[in-house]
């Protein structure tokens, strides 16, 4: 085990090269719906128990199923209304279980990125080959069912190994060259993109995907009331938007259909979306587009700046 994962260097949030997003935008805004499949009776993993009760875990399984049966369309209609294309953090097995959802997202040109095969199959305990196979399986599923060259990764249930980012980038290169496997959502250290050190030396970035704004963290872990969550989204936006005039920032709302689409919560979410998209210097976009734009325009300048600031 290591003291530090070694993915990035210390890089203070002051005097960095300024980022300007397309059309003079000062903030890049993306919404990342997690569309997940949890198994009712998954195999045991020695490091994490999937459900708190012995099989069948009715309460946990059924509310997540509600997200696919009922919640999905509600969030999708809302994102349509505010001109937002979702960047889906996808349990790849959902392509097999619920292709109707995949089709609806495809019709809207939403992005699919990998969130593993199932959200009840953890990386913990996998050897390098097994993790590589799991990552490749998910990327092949996305390609087969959507034609998309998967660019991003959020490890299933945020379960990682020391090699997770390396393996994802390498499988991406093997399948798609530089057009796949080039960004990660697994790191929460910054409000701007960060170049990531990989053993392959691939041009690869971490894109901010905020756990603080994640609806499941807010509702299930911090247990906040819906309108408090809505206010936090607006407050988060206000500060990042103001700072973005000087630095160029990113705001992400990671969501789950079984949380944010509930009838008692969707109003607070809609108010925040209306507020954010009502600002002129916001680039409403996807994870892949942010990462691609950054790699093309700012990645090299960032590397040079980071290097110059290492003491």
């Amino acid at each position: 085990m290591k003291e530090d994962p070694g993915y990035y260097d210390y890089w203070p949030y002051e005097n960095r090269p300024k980022i300007e997003w397309p059309n003079g935008a000062q903030l890049a805004f993306w919404v990342a719906p997690n569309i997940e499949y949890y198994e009712l009776d998954p195999p045991a993993n020695p490091y994490r128990t999937p459900w708190p009760q012995p099989h069948p875990a009715v309460s946990g399984y059924s509310i997540r199923d509600w997200g696919n049966r009922v919640g999905h369309i509600r969030q999708m209609e809302l994102l349509d209304k505010y001109g937002i294309r979702g960047s889906i953090s996808l349990s790849a097995a959902l392509c097999d279980h619920h292709p109707e959802i995949i089709d609806m997202c495809e019709e809207r040109n939403w992005e699919f990125f990998s969130h593993g095969v199932y959200n009840t199959r953890y990386t913990y305990g996998m050897n390098e080959q097994q993790e590589r196979d799991m990552i490749k399986d998910a990327m092949e599923s996305i390609l087969k069912h959507t034609g998309q060259k998967c660019a991003g990764y959020l490890a299933p249930a945020l379960s990682h190994s020391e090699l997770t980012l390396d393996l994802f980038a390498e499988v991406g290169t093997e399948m798609f060259g530089a057009e796949g496997g080039f960004y990660s959502c697994d790191l929460f250290h910054d409000d701007q993109p960060t170049p990531i050190h990989l053993r392959s030396g691939k041009r690869f970035v971490s894109i901010p995907y905020s756990l603080e704004m994640n609806d499941t963290i807010a509702y299930l872990v911090q247990k906040v009331p819906p309108r408090q969550y809505g206010k936090a989204l607006k407050d988060n936006f206000d500060r990042l938007y103001a700072e973005g005039a000087e630095s160029g920032t990113i705001m992400c709302i990671p969501t789950h259909n079984y949380q944010v689409s509930c009838a008692h919560r969707i109003k607070a979410y809609e108010e925040a979306l209306e507020y954010i998209t009502g600002h002129s210097k916001v680039w409403v976009t996807t994870g892949r587009e942010i990462a691609s734009y950054y790699l093309e325009h700012y990645y090299d300048a960032a590397l040079a700046d980071i290097s110059a600031k290492q003491i």
Partner: protein, 305 residues
């Protein structure tokens, strides 16, 4: 990290639909529109848990949420739960009558045995009674002995039917917890609908070894216990969340057909003097909308079919 067997990367249920055979995969938005009686759009299902939490709780295989948490005798939690059945429930009944609610009572059979006065009162009112298990510590759970569970289901249903004179058709498991056999045992004992699964907003068909039964959508997310005592939101926030849900579902019903607002509430939570006003406020708000249809769970199911 120790090695995982390669079988961990095998996915035997990775195919169209669900990863089990209990019900069909179906998105709510693609189903035919439902019409409620008299052109109403939103059925209001007020479901009242009348629960008995025994002082000598066994806690097998877990301590039921809302149950005893202190060393025996936990007078604090025992008596505070009992408060609901002695005091809070009579505040509920007044409020229901004031706003024309048709409450469904989910009763622990052991409570019916212990408080015949309360059960007689509900019988006289003629409200629907469904079974909430034998008592709150008589849990149904994965790995439970099948014969033991079969006896428990039979004891709970036979006893409640005898005491209420009603042919009880509905069921909620204590803590909404089940074993893999629970739906089969319920169907074998004459249950036609149960309310443990929270994966839909409308009724749907659930397969058992003894024929299909109906899963009825009783929201946990909107429950008083869940919002006030699990999430630790105020009673005012509970009321605000319910009113927001009512508005949203009513709006959705206008384009997608009838919907159900299910409020699972407990007299030991909302029957407290400082909270009852929020329940009254919510009922006043919902019932002021002319598209709302207050109904028993069984009536909603009958109209759905």
């Amino acid at each position: 990290m120790s090695k995982l067997d390669n079988k961990y990367l095998h996915y035997p249920h990775r195919s169209y639909g669900m990863d089990h055979n209990r019900y069909e995969w179906s998105m709510l938005s693609t189903r035919p529109k439902v019409s409620w009686p008299e052109g109403k759009l939103l059925a209001l299902w007020v479901n009242v848990g009348l629960q008995f939490f025994p002082l000598n709780q066994r806690g097998v295989p877990f301590k039921v949420p809302g149950g005893m948490t202190k060393p025996y005798p936990d007078l604090r939690h025992y008596s505070l739960r009992d408060y609901g059945n002695r005091v809070g429930i009579y505040r509920f009944l007044k409020a229901f009558d004031q706003y024309g609610i048709k409450p469904t009572f989910a009763v622990s059979t052991r409570l019916a045995e212990r408080t015949p006065y309360l059960i007689d009162k509900i019988k006289e009112r003629g409200d629907e009674i469904i079974c909430h298990g034998y008592h709150m510590d008589a849990l149904h759970y994965g790995g439970q002995d099948k014969v033991e569970e079969a006896e428990l289901v039979e004891k709970a249903l036979d006893g409640l039917r005898k005491m209420t004179g009603q042919d009880v058709k509905g069921w909620i498991s204590p803590a909404k917890n089940e074993s893999a056999n629970t739906p089969d045992l319920l169907a074998a004992n004459g249950i036609t609908y149960f309310c443990d699964w929270v994966n839909d907003d409308m009724p749907y068909v659930f397969q058992t070894q003894h024929g299909p039964i109906t899963a009825m959508p009783l929201s946990t997310e909107l429950e008083d216990y869940f919002i006030i005592l699990n999430n630790l939101h105020s009673a005012e926030s509970w009321a605000e969340q319910i009113c927001d849900a009512c508005d949203f579902l009513l709006q959705e019903a206008k384009t997608q057909g009838g919907r159900i607002l299910s409020l699972n509430i407990h007299p030991w939570v909302l029957g407290q003097p400082h909270r009852i006003g929020q329940l009254e406020k919510v009922l006043d708000y919902i019932c002021s909308k002319r598209e709302v249809w207050p109904a028993y769970a069984g009536e909603i199911l009958a109209a759905f079919k």
